[in-house]
Amino acid sequence: MSHHLFLLSPSDTPLYSLTHHSSKPVPNVSSPLSSNLPNWSTSAFAGTLTALSGASSSAHQTSSGTVRMGGGQDRHVIQMIANASLDVIEDIMKSQSTMFLKSVDKFNEWTVSAFITPGNMKFVLLHEGKNDDGIRAFFTDVWELYVKTMLNPFHTAHTPIRSTIFDTRVRSSAKKHL
């Protein structure tokens, strides 16, 4: 089961991203409808479609390397989903004041949970299973780490986080909670 974490600045720019593969099994919730998919790859654009619709085909090969799109676990698609889920997150955060928005959105096989800091940073986590307490604990950890990073006077709301310490701590927290 994999998790994808994105720390998004108020202008939707990811400052930090993490892909975490946990040892827990993936709950098989896929519909029979998504089985036995046709394998028609007629053009690069069909590849885009395949990827975006969430069909977990193997990495799509392009001949000239101009458009590189991948399969269902493709990073680009994950990012698209995370970005698209911001619509719902923004919508909900305007009407609710909670920081932790659990399972705020679902798209394809992904469930999106989010955490909104008072500084309007959004932590977006794409996950497959249901693990609310673990995710809440994980978000709290990440928030604390993020606040510690922001204590750096040279760090603005738009500076990407490249600290290795931050990275290792987030990873260890992910290992613990997710």
Partner: protein, 1326 residues
Amino acid sequence: MDTHAFASLAQVKILLVPVGTIPQSTFNKYAEELRSFDAIRLGDIPADNKDERARFMPNPLSTGYLHLSFPTHPPPFSHLPLSLLRPSNFPLAVIGLAACSKTDSLPSVLAEFNAALLDIFPAGGMYPLAKNCFVFEEGEGNTNVNLGDNVPGLVVIPSMMGNKKLYIGTLLADLCSHVLGEFGTLVQGLESPAGNEHLNSALMPMLPPPDLAQPVDNGRKRDSLPPLPNHNGQPEMKGFNLASTPNLKRNSSSASTFRQSTLSVPPTKKRLSSIGVASSHGRLFKVLGDFFLLAGRTEDAAVWYNEALLLFRSSSDAVWQAATLEGMATVSIIDAWSAGQGLNTSTSSSRGAWNDVFDKLSQAINLYQRFPGGDGEHNYSLLAYLYSCAVLRQASLLFSIWSAKGWGPVAFGTMLQPGPTPYLPPTLSHEGLTSWANLERLSSLSGIPRASISAVLAQVHGPWLLHLGPRERISILESTASLYACLGYRRKEAYILREVLGCILDLIVCGREEDGFSRLSSVPLPSGLGIQGPSSSQRGNVGVRFSENIDGNESVLRLLKYVCKVLGINLDAVRLLETSDADITEVQSAPASVEDDVATEFMEPYGWPELQVGVVREAVAVAEALPDYLAVAQFALSSLKTLQAVLAPGDQYHLYATSNRALMTAHRRGDSKSVEYWSGKPLVSINLLPLPLVRLPIEKPLSALQTRSSDIAPILTGGTDPFLYNPRRALGQGKSLVVQNELLDFVLVLRNPYIFDLEIQSLSLSTSGVVFDSKPVRVVLPAGSLHVVTLSGKATETGSLVVRGCLVQAPGGTKREFTLPVTTGEEEERISRKRAALECEVGRSKYSGLDCFPWEKASKRSSTQLTVSTTKPPLRFLEYAVVPEQPLLRIRRTSVTHGAVMMYNGEMSTIRLTLENVSPLPIDFLRLAFDDSTIASAQQALATGDLSVFDTYETEYDLLHRPLFAWNKEDGKDIPPGQKLTVNVNCYGKVGCTTGTIHVSYSYVHRSTTSLDPSPQVFHTRQLSYPVMVTVYHMLECQGMDILPFPSVPSELDEEQGEPDEHYLGNEAGWCLFSVEVRNTYGLPFEVSFERVQQGGARGTTSTTVSPGSTSRMVIPIKKFILSEAHLSRPIPTLSDRQFVVTKSKLSKVQERAQRELFWYREELFKRLRGRWREAGGTRSGDLSLRQQRMTLPMLETLRTETASIAMSLHRRESSGNIPVTLTGGKYHPPSSEFVYLRTKVTNLSLTSLVFTVDFDCQSSPHVIFEGLLRDVPIGRLESGESREVETGLCFLAYGRFEILAEAKIVGATESKGTGRLTAMVRAEE
């Protein structure tokens, strides 16, 4: 195309088909007319009560409605298996629309209609059930119309018909009646045991055309086979009974209930018993329900649906069960609609009202999703389609309620008759789309949060979309995207739109690749199509160009731009301009303000870089695949411009290459548009390459030509200006001067921030003012660097030349001007203030997400500091004054070899310069000025003012009277064009000088001007400089100057001198000796001579040869002189007439006077002496300067003539008179013990009359007897030059040598003014 209205299950689809040559606009007009009939009252439908056909006919008094929809596209053939499961998916009737003019014959129209139908509907299908052809008459008085009435299956609608609408309504009702009748026939076939078996034979059964479909086609006479009687007239079908009749009671409010119970239910029951038990009747009941729903009889439909559900519950037939649930949901909505018809306002936000519907749909969705799988390949696509439709149905349920502000008639209306814009409900205007508050208001009113709608809608998206055919996929994705858009979820919309684009482009590309040769490089080929490679090569190298169909390209591009915009990329950042007017508009456009640069500097990153890059690449690929080359270039360049910071090098290079290629192609194909210049502001600076000094014109006022009377030698003051702020001086330097018709080189620094070499097709200067003649150049800016380009040109007129900036044109683009204003202080301040405000703002976000697009930032800013002031001060630019053509002079040759001059100290030599006028203009003004390395230091020493008055004078004297170079002004003459002139420059060797420069200023002053011009106040000169390296050897050194008294005359000298009266005559004539040591520090012997130049032509010379390393003392007698008091009282002059000289010395009056005396006597002395040297055995000679020597007070005393001279002589007084005592060798030999008389003659040598006394002093006084006084012997007043004698008697009492001294004094003063001396030798008589 396909709309997914909520109530589509209840809508009778009537396909509209254009027949014959009906223009699209006409077709649309009539289709619109037909579409206005979205529902027909059941009561209006003529009943056909023929046995089985009467089954679905409405009760004449029923109040229900038949809902119609008029698609213009038939469903795809692949949907045929759905024909029993989902009859509403198919057009139940067809209307052909034809426009008829005089020439058309109606039978041919009918034939065409039938042919079209055969084309549209495959032979195997069971629909349409009815058809008709409407022929609209065009034009007046058509004769064919009368004919048409006889043709069956064709209705002519005359153009002059009054109430056309009513007529059409009647026609439609007839058609519907026909359809309902056909329902009965169809059901009759299904009710047979064989029919039921067939119905249950597969998941999605289809009526096979030979048996069951036959009677359906009967009416249309599609084929000539006779109807099969065994199915048509089954007697069991009449007796039908339903087990669940009591259920009907629930719906007893409707008037039609009674009729239904009597007419249709009992036969069903009867039939049930008789049909074989092999399969359940669930599917049959479901079909019945569907047909009743379509027929507008909801009560019956609900009954049958419930029956079906009961049966499905026991058997597992998930798909049919789900379809039934959907039908039931539709029934509730239709009921609610008909109940709420008429009252428009009552809405309720309670969830209870529609919860049941929602649950049913959820159940259906679940059933579809869980269905374990079909048996054939087709089923996947159809299942996915059914699933997606169900999801969309549920979503549109929520959406309709939400957008209608609650459960009410408006919501029902939206669900039933979505109209032309199904996803833009009336509550959401276009402007409302972006307003969050507006959307949120709907949510709170309806009690449905948007997130829940989105959650429902998200179910539609999944891998199963791939099962769908392209048409269904596009339509479902479109609907999804529209719903998201209305919800204000623009990112989700963008996501879906990307898929839509993928679908469309896939179709475009695949469709095109069938022909195999119009393929683009960047559209990757699928691996399976490799066969086409060789086949295309068979065409040889002939390029085949097809005229492409560009319909729809515009919309695809608009979608692309929208998607990119949502992700924060402005694909319109680089605009497309018409080439024709681009040149004009660009020049007119206001210069980009500096603020823009500042603003871009603080641009914050927006969006998700990786996504942006991916989307941009896709956008370019899409545009390339269309192909729209200009769009390709626009997209590629826009992304380069806006995403430069996040694009990887490879991407940048790829985008640039793509854009170049696309622009070239577009250009080749003759596109009239081109892109504007895109790459930011490349211009960093513009500078005029400084003109070489030779060519630099210098402006001079014309008054400088007139000689001024009082001229302070400018050399003394140097270039220093005593004023810290001199407005006059600054005035002249405002504009740089350049010369007309001469080449000017401008140095441009251009910047390329990209990682690829940027090509600029044409780079030229943008100037205003006088005409500037320059050619644009083609430049390639190296990657990631600053590049210096030199542009040259000529100003062809005189006046002011303003350099605004440069015009830049990228290949295939239009020209764009980039200005470079010269910022004033005020401007600078404004910019820095702005910068500070922006800097303060950076890192703070007021808006987030989609509200903070970079291009919207400026408009949302409310800070007053950043508001752009409306009154912009005019920009200032680099300005140059172009002066008239100037002549040009050059140094043709000089007499100096290697530019170096070697001289001895004090030597004079001559440099010969030959100047040549190489211009076509004459030179009528020529001046020489000089400079050397000693001047600057001397000027500086003078300027600091620390020098004593004496030193100041020395320095000034040096500067003025002994310059390194000098010239004769008479040499300056006119030089006609092409002529030469030789000028002599005198050189004077001056120790310490290392370099010197000869400046030649020249001009053409007296040029002929046109009478219109006012005579110029200024003229311009040019300067030619000739540097000379100077080496001056310091070979002779004077030191130890001394002036000694000339006490007595040695006898030797006496004899040597031939002219005693002119020469050394003791101290009586007032001579003294001048001596100086001359040392030769050089390696050659020099002959040194000193010459005395005194008044009255008395000259004397002394000379000697000083060998290397040795020192010689030169001695020359000098006549003493005296300077008048008036002369001495003059202060030491300053040669420069400098002002502001404050005497710093704190000397007393006496000391000052002494200093003055020293000064003036020294000056006089140097006037009377001239030292010269000559190279021994050589020709070089020069002056030997004594100016280094200082004069001391004793020397002055010696040099100065005494005030009084005393001449003393001894006499003996005999009877004969006075006899002078013998005088030998300057000594007197008086006798001893005998009286002699000492005669003392005092002469007043001074220039005034004085009163003198004389003191005598006899050193051996005991042996001398004096008569009279020895002290203060009065002489009396003597006029100037007058002399008087006194006699004193004395007697030498012993032998020996006596010295008698006399001192003349002025009365009242103690110092002696003149001395006399007499030596007497008293010996025994020989």
